[in-house]
């Protein structure tokens, strides 16, 4: 079983829509959760970093962690064409090894 599972999509939404991206993870000991955005032919860049359960908001982005179901989510409000990218969820162990999902490809149509 992979440490992190993510639906690869692709996901296509109209501009202004609310986007929901989701992942599940296998190890209940994981405490740190991240979302990265990756544009075509670029490296991943960190969007959100959360610790344990709960919500974290940053502008149009909200990261949510539900440790009881081992489920992590990223919500994008008022989606823009510039949000078109691949979104990677990730977690890390206490030994500082990171585990990434396969990524969900998102296209926001103007």
């Amino acid at each position: 079983q992979k440490e992190v599972e993510q639906d690869p999509g692709p996901l296509s939404v109209p501009e202004g829509a609310i986007v929901s991206l989701n992942c599940t993870y296998s190890n209940s000991a994981f405490q740190y959760f991240m979302w990265y955005r990756q544009y075509s032919r670029k490296g991943p860049e960190l969007l959100m970093y959360t610790y344990s359960s709960g919500n974290k908001e940053d502008g149009r982005f909200t990261a949510q962690v539900d440790k009881s179901s081992k489920y992590i989510s990223l919500f994008i409000r008022d989606s823009q064409p510039s949000d078109s990218a691949t979104y990677l969820c990730a977690t890390r162990n206490t030994g500082n090894q990171f585990y990434f999902g396969t990524g969900t490809s998102l296209t926001v149509i103007p």
């Binding site: 690869p8 740190y32 490296g43 860049e45 960190l46 970093y49 500082n96 990171f98 990434f100 396969t102």
Partner: protein, 115 residues
């Protein structure tokens, strides 16, 4: 401010050839990582380093070697390239363990094809 720089950006090799991928960071980060990214597999950790002169194996280390002779550089070597090593390779750096909220900073990747 260059951040994390990877060279080369593209390379085509024949099976059995060797090569070295270079990663350089100018942020004085302690930790550095090498990943490969394949369709349907996501990012997988090959090797990492927690400081100058140290290296450790990640999830998929076989067929690769690394060296961290200088703090700012992390080299990934393929001694005898195989078609299964065709991938996009990403280097990342991170400030260190002291602050648990430190993100990884990624380079823009090296696209490697093995024929």
């Amino acid at each position: 401010n260059a951040g994390v720089t990877q060279t080369p950006k593209f390379r085509v090799l024949k099976t059995g050839q060797s090569m070295t991928l270079l990663c350089a960071q100018d942020m004085n980060h302690e930790y550095m990582y090498w990943y490969r990214q394949d369709p349907g597999m996501g990012l997988r950790l090959i090797h990492y380093s927690v400081g100058e002169g140290t290296t450790a194996k990640g999830e998929v280390p076989d067929g690769y070697n690394v060296s961290r002779l200088k703090k700012q550089n992390f080299l990934l070597g393929l001694e005898s390239a195989a078609p299964s090593q065709t991938s996009v390779y990403f280097c990342a750096s991170q400030k260190g363990q002291g602050n648990l909220n430190q993100p990884q900073h990624f380079g823009d990747g090296t696209r490697l094809s093995i024929l």
